[in-house]
């Protein structure tokens, strides 16, 4: 029995040490609790302690951040990365589909986003439908399978869209959409008016469906024999929206349409909406703020289509000052291009609108976290939150800043130096494999020859 006790102590110490990391002596941008020189203690994937002076537990892994900057992991409220299907564009209400099913953990966009300091994102269905599909919030846990990526505590959400995209009906001549050759193949709606109609119709149907089920449950409770209603996968997510169990992300540009949608949401008592793109949001910021809805926009990206002309780079700052919860997003699909520099996107609201550093950083960290209703766990550097952290070599709002290390749930998922040093080896492995396969193919040639 005697040797057992020291053994136990040893293993407990080992466990302790293995699970504790301290990021030391960096400039900590907590976003919500100020910026200071200090350290962060990470235990079991969570931020255990953050402050100017912290106790470094014995055996902890120490990451020296002297001269470096630490921010909470960037959260991108609107992307389409790592999805094998994005747009079920065939119908105007595609709420039955879920892009979360199509999450591809092998997509290199995840690693690229990670390298840009993004630790979580909302990857969404496309904007071809007045009511689109279900979205997915996930963390960049590169190497995990699809289920392991998903931020399962995030509230589910659905995509909606207004304007040019959902009213694209095709053409009788099949000019815009190949394959649609006859008028009956046109998709309704063809106008902005029709988009509103589709949305109102869908939520009206969802209400009727909700009632149908309530009636059935009541009859069943009375002991009556009855056939349950047909389950409808298109309407079920919309009932969840009506019941406040599912968030809405609504793609929009023009102020008049934003007002229209605000009225629709008022009529159906739908809360917790984030307007996406919302380039004319500055015109209706008060109306959005009054209702407690949010806005996720670009810093200075516009005029890529007619409905995106009347935009200004002050949009985010104006909406923010009017009390709208504002985030900045990338809308990236394949390349994770803008996504890799959301820190500099945030910096632009300081130039255009004169917001503070914290206000700027908030737009890519805590604000999107609030919009996705994950701010309880991520979005700022606070004790108790997930240890999703980014270490930059310079001030993160500088154009010269590079991401050095990224932690998610306390685990290091990206290290710039390691990445660079791994490259020659990977290149050599790849070249070796290419040669080997080439030789094999040459050897196999005589057998595989086809009759000419």
């Amino acid at each position: 029995m005697r040797p057992l006790i020291p053994l136990l102590v040893c293993s407990a110490a080992a466990l302790l040490a293995a699970d504790v990391t301290v990021i030391q002596n960096g400039t900590i941008h907590t976003v919500t609790k100020g910026t200071f020189k200090g350290s962060i203690v990470i235990r079991d994937g969570k931020i255990a302690e953050v402050g100017e002076k912290v106790m470094t537990p014995a055996g902890a892994r120490v990451v020296d951040a002297s001269g470096k900057h630490v921010i909470p992991g960037i959260i991108d409220a609107h992307t389409h990365i790592a999805l094998d299907s994005i747009n079920e564009s065939s119908v105007s209400v595609s709420s039955m589909v879920s892009v979360g099913e199509m999450l591809n953990p092998e997509s290199v966009s995840i690693y690229r986003a990670l390298a840009g300091g993004v630790t979580a994102c909302n990857s969404m269905h496309g904007s071809a439908n007045a009511i689109g599909g279900q979205n997915v919030v996930f963390k960049m846990r590169w190497g995990a399978d699809a289920r392991g990526l998903v931020f399962d505590k995030a509230k589910p959400s659905i995509k909606m869209a207004l304007g040019e995209n959902p009213k694209r009906q095709g053409s009788p001549q099949g000019l815009q959409i190949p394959g649609l050759q006859s008028p009956q193949n046109l998709r309704y709606p063809g106008t902005r008016l029709g988009v509103e109609d589709v949305i109102r119709d869908a939520f009206t149907r969802a209400r009727a469906y909700q009632r149908e089920w309530k009636d059935y449950e009541a009859r069943k409770a009375r002991g009556e024999k009855a056939l349950p209603p047909r389950r409808d996968l298109e309407l079920e997510p919309l009932v969840e929206v009506l019941e406040g169990k599912r968030l809405v992300h609504a793609h929009c540009y023009r102020a008049d349409e934003i007002l229209m949608l605000l009225r629709v949401f008022d009529d159906f008592n739908i809360r917790g909406v984030t307007f996406q793109h919302v380039l004319e949001g500055y015109k209706v910021a008060r109306e959005i703020a009054e209702r407690g809805h949010g806005a996720s926009t670009f810093s200075d990206w516009w005029s890529y289509k007619v409905e995106a002309y009347d935009a200004i780079p002050y949009n985010a700052a104006i909406m923010h000052r009017k009390g709208v919860l504002v985030s900045l997003n990338s809308d990236d699909a394949g390349g994770a291009e803008l996504m890799r520099r959301l820190n500099t996107e945030a910096a632009k609201v300081m130039k255009y609108g004169g917001l503070s550093e914290d206000e700027a950083l908030a737009m890519v960290t805590i604000n999107p976290a609030k919009q996705l209703q994950i701010d309880q766990w991520v979005g700022s550097i606070e004790a108790g939150k997930d240890a999703d952290l980014v270490i930059y070599d310079k001030h993160p709002l500088s154009i010269y800043a590079k991401v050095e290390k990224v932690f998610i749930d306390g685990r290091q998922y990206f290290d710039r130096d390691e990445d660079m040093s791994r490259r020659p080896k990977l290149e050599a492995e790849k070249e070796g494999l290419r040669r080997k396969l080439q030789d094999q193919q040459k050897q196999a040639m005589p057998q595989n020859r086809r009759p000419s």
Binding site: S85, V91, M96, P105, E106, G179, K225, L227
Partner: protein
């Protein structure tokens, strides 16, 4: 080839004791293959023994078998007897046109009136949602489509295949497969089991309406199965109380969903595998995954979930017309390198797997592909099992097919050496006890435009 063939034939005939002619002869009540090496698959190899057939069934197998005096005796000296090979996912024996598009089904619950009749080049109606039952042909049964005169049957037999699990291929819910023997006078004779499972594909319609993405197809499958369950409930309620409960309209699409024993779903890689396992769980229907190109990474999970696999053994290769300036990624190279190791990985993990001839130029190429896998560590007995007993087990016909055992259907391959040896010649096959002699190898229909067979398990993206 042409010159060599008669010589082979002569050799084959010489080896046969009764060298007089009848080509597919052997209609004698008793047939015995004597002094042959027998590989039963279900048990140890018999180095020198006899297989006795009676009226299409294996009557006895062993080192010592009493052969009735009236039996037609074949001298098996120098020959090896294997169970007939099974192509676990095939279109052999089905009309080729079955794969072509048919007009979209009418809305749920309605029979299509004139629509189907005037269906030359269908001005396909745009599907507006699940109730249009897009690409759904669940009521189609391969067993009803069997064509005994399919020219491909002879080729398949000549390579040792005696059985195929044939599936209709149109749309996304293509219909029910059937286990068929690759020889017989009538279609009915060829069918061994009329219900092998429902073939599902993730081929979006592009712009022809819902569903236009694999994601939409998955949502559609879920709705279709929910509708079938609702239909079942409605029928049960009505049966119990036809006076007060409205009579549910007959629905052929849903009837056929309720009858599905299993679904066949495409999955080329681990990501798709997880999606399909989740989908199958939602459909509450056992799944068989097909494609499984990256089986070397899928073995553990398949084993753990108890899911059988049908491998497409057309190993990925660089496209012949690939742009030489466009280098392949490390990931692609790895897949090309490791795909042939999939069977060994599946066997090592204890996953039940079979193979498909799809996309290969000739049936014989299945054996060559597996030889590649044997060279990469697959045990020959595991390769043989995949081609015989495992396939029979996956489709629930192992009581009658898949091994050389007393009581099983007399489907046999007789070769002059090891089946996976390139130099080995197939001397004859038996199907339902009837002997067939080989034909020269001809190229099958060329593979599709993507260079892969339709069961590669690859999802077609729009």
């Amino acid at each position: 080839m042409k010159k060599k063939f008669p010589a082979t034939m002569l050799a084959a005939l010489a080896a046969v004791l009764l060298a007089w002619l009848p080509a597919p002869a052997g209609s004698a009540a008793w047939t015995a293959i004597r002094d042959a090496r027998i590989v039963p698959v279900s048990g140890p190899v018999i180095e020198k023994g006899t297989v006795l057939l009676r009226d299409g069934v294996i009557a006895a197998v062993g080192a010592q078998v009493d052969v009735p005096a009236s039996a037609w005796v074949i001298d098996g000296t120098g020959l090896t007897v294997y169970p007939g090979l099974i192509d676990a996912m095939s279109t052999w024996g089905l009309p080729q046109a079955a794969a072509a598009a048919q007009p979209a089904a009418a809305r749920a619950g309605q029979q299509p009136p004139q629509q189907q009749a005037q269906a030359q080049q269908p001005a396909q109606a745009r599907s507006r949602g699940p109730l249009d039952r897009p690409g759904t042909f669940s009521w189609v049964k391969a067993a009803d489509l069997v064509q005994p005169d399919d020219a491909r049957l002879g080729q398949a037999r000549s390579s040792g295949f005696t059985t195929a699990v044939a599936f209709p291929r149109q749309g996304i819910v293509a219909g029910h497969g059937a286990v068929i023997n690759l020889g017989g006078k009538t279609a009915g004779e060829m069918v061994v089991a009329p219900e092998a499972g429902l073939w599902l594909a993730l081929r979006p319609s592009g712009y022809l309406g819902f569903p236009s993405t694999p994601m939409g197809i998955m949502a559609y499958f879920r709705q279709l199965w929910l509708d079938a369950e609702h239909y079942r409930q409605a029928l049960a309620l009505y049966a119990a109380d036809p006076v007060n409960i409205p009579r549910p309209p007959y629905d052929r699409a849903l009837e056929a969903i309720l009858g599905a024993k299993r679904v066949l779903l495409p999955a080329a890689d681990p990501v798709q595998m997880e999606r399909m396992l989740k989908l199958a769980a939602d459909l509450k229907t056992p799944a068989v995954l097909y494609g499984v190109v990256r089986g070397y990474e899928m073995a553990e999970r398949l084993k753990q979930s108890g899911t059988p696999a049908i491998l497409n053994v057309r190993w990925p290769s660089r496209d012949r017309d690939a742009d030489p300036e466009q280098p392949e990624s490390y990931r692609e190279l790895r897949i090309r390198d490791l795909a042939p190791t999939s069977p060994a990985a599946l066997a090592a993990a204890g996953v039940k797997f079979a193979v498909s001839s799809d996309g290969l130029e000739t049936p014989r190429a299945v054996l060559r592909a597996l030889k590649q896998s044997i060279d990469r560590g697959l045990k020959p007995e595991d390769a043989l099992r995949a081609l015989t007993l495992s396939a029979a087990e996956i489709f629930g016909v192992a009581d009658r097919l898949g091994s050389v055992e007393r009581g099983k259907i007399a489907n046999l391959v007789v070769a002059d050496g090891d089946l996976f040896d390139e130099k080995t010649k197939i001397r004859m096959v038996f199907i339902d006890g009837v002997r067939y002699l080989p034909e020269p190898e001809l190229p099958q229909a060329p593979p599709g435009p993507a260079g892969r067979g339709p069961t590669s398990g690859e999802w077609e993206e729009q």
